[in-house]
Amino acid sequence: MSSTAERAPRYIDAINQALAEAMAEDDTVVVIGIDVGAGEGIFRVTRGLFERFGPERVIDTPISEMGYVGAAVGAAMTGLRPIVEIMFMDFLGVCLDPIMNQAAKLPYMTAGALSVPIVFRTQTGAGRSAGAQHSQSLEAMLAHVPGLKVVMPATVTDAHDLLLAAVRDPDPVVYVENRRLYATRARLDRDPLPLGVARVAAVGEDVTVVTWGQSLRECLTAAEGGSPSLEVVDLRSLVPLDMETVLASVRKTGRLLVVHEAVQDFGAGAEIAARVADELFDDLRAPVRRLGAPAVPMPFSPDLERALLPSAVAIAAVAEKLTRES
């Protein structure tokens, strides 16, 4: 690695920088969560914020997700813009009500009289032997609830840009980091893409590969082989879902593979596959394929876990099979 590359920020630094920028530009922005303050976060995502912004803006909570996530929603309804941390995405299990029934519903049920400008910041990431209660990618569950936006930054640039966009957004946004990307480094691009726009991460001709989050790396590695030629689309957000970019790519390639780290059954890949089948049935040259984790809880064993997660090799193999099917 060159020294220039070493100085580029890490994904985790980009999040930290975006948090600081959001707090500096708007003093109603507060960070709320377990150990986010003086402790600076279990992954040190919030480092320096407590010192710089103080305990009224970087608020430590008890281990009380239902209470503090609910309170953050109440605060968002009354003039603050909270960024509330759910330490692991799996912990949604104890605090879904304020997200699913309050934040997602109140603006609609009040015909827009109430707004809930809040960011639910969380992280996922299988592949580190964290066990079945610390490894789940639950984005499809959230995207299924009308009223929530769901963003999944796959790059250092998006870790920064999508977080700032989420804080500035007037609606509840779930912002999902992947901890396996925390140490990746890259320079921040100049012009941020808006929230809700997908990005063609690799141009190709034969198969469109749609993905998001950390699976992007595997897809890009698979694309490096060059044959078949893969066009990789990084969705960036599931809600809003930029189908135009996906459809434009599939119109060109005639083939679609959706890849995600989340369990394949009833996953977001099914939604994208269905939409492409609806819109482009006549343009498809092969059946639409999905590649996600099998429907089992994520095991602890590194060997078992590795076998379950979509790898570059598996992605390339499915893509190659797709080109032979037509």
């Binding site: 008890p62 929603v73 109440g74 605060a75 603006p107 009289a113 007037p170 609606d171």
Partner: protein, 332 residues
Amino acid sequence: MSHPDPSGAPVVDPAASAPLESLFASMALIRAFETRVAELYRDGEIPGFVHTSLGQEAVAAGVGLALRPDDYLATTHRGHGHCLAKGVDVDGMMAELFAKATGLCRGKGGSMHVADPRLGVLGANAIVGASMPLAVGAGLSSKLRRQDRVAVAFFGEGAVNQGMFHEAMNLAAIWDAPVVFVCENNVYAEFTDSRTMSRVPRVADRAAAYGIAASTVDGNDVEAVHAAAQEAVERCRVARGPFLLEAETYRSHGHYEGDAQPYKPAEESDAWGALDPLSIAEGRLLERGAGSAQRLAAVRSRARERVEAAVERARAAPPPAPEEAYEHVFHG
């Protein structure tokens, strides 16, 4: 951070209280509204479910009149009275129950979701317990923004066995949030006698576990509720920390309209029937020479007329246009 004084001297000057006549008028409006809503629901004019607060009017009026228009209020599925006592427009509420375009929420909320942020009303809520963390957040917001707005969470005694109660009480305590938790103890949670669901008979006793000041008040005595609520609210306003106020009352109708209530002993309903909060207030006003029976009857009939006018307007109003179903999912 300075810690609130959990006991301390009273902060309210009794002379500042709302007069009993105003409290009575507020209760009369709620009684008229709920009585009419029950009929309209029976007659099929109001869709969905309806939970009335008949018999509990003193709690709503006593607390509502202790609040400023900019104070926050989060309430429950049984929230009509709380909203009316906070000053929410009768026409807008009735039209909302009728699911009309002129409703406060343009027909997208209904009985269980009436809201009016202009009056700090963050909404009735159909998730038992959800009012509590939301009110804590509103209180936190007020405190961090250096405002002196107080947040009130109404909830039933059934909701105190919900985890949200525990978490919200603890958060309000550690954050010294200006939140008044008002538990309307009406004995029943749906069809269940709540006394069988906890070994702690008094809800207010639970406050000690969180270091929160608390009291229990006769919830059918509107003056007692008002005095206790004013004290709790003003303590919050001067940053003495949160308060749990338990008001003991009784739900005179079913859990929802149409509930035949086979689970209530007749002697119990009769005993509470003799403690009707409006009759108690009327008796007191007459005793004090503060109003003739005629004048009090006129207050009640004006309330009924006001409600009837709202019913007529709601009936005449159009339903929301079909395309409105797609609006307001997102602001941006």
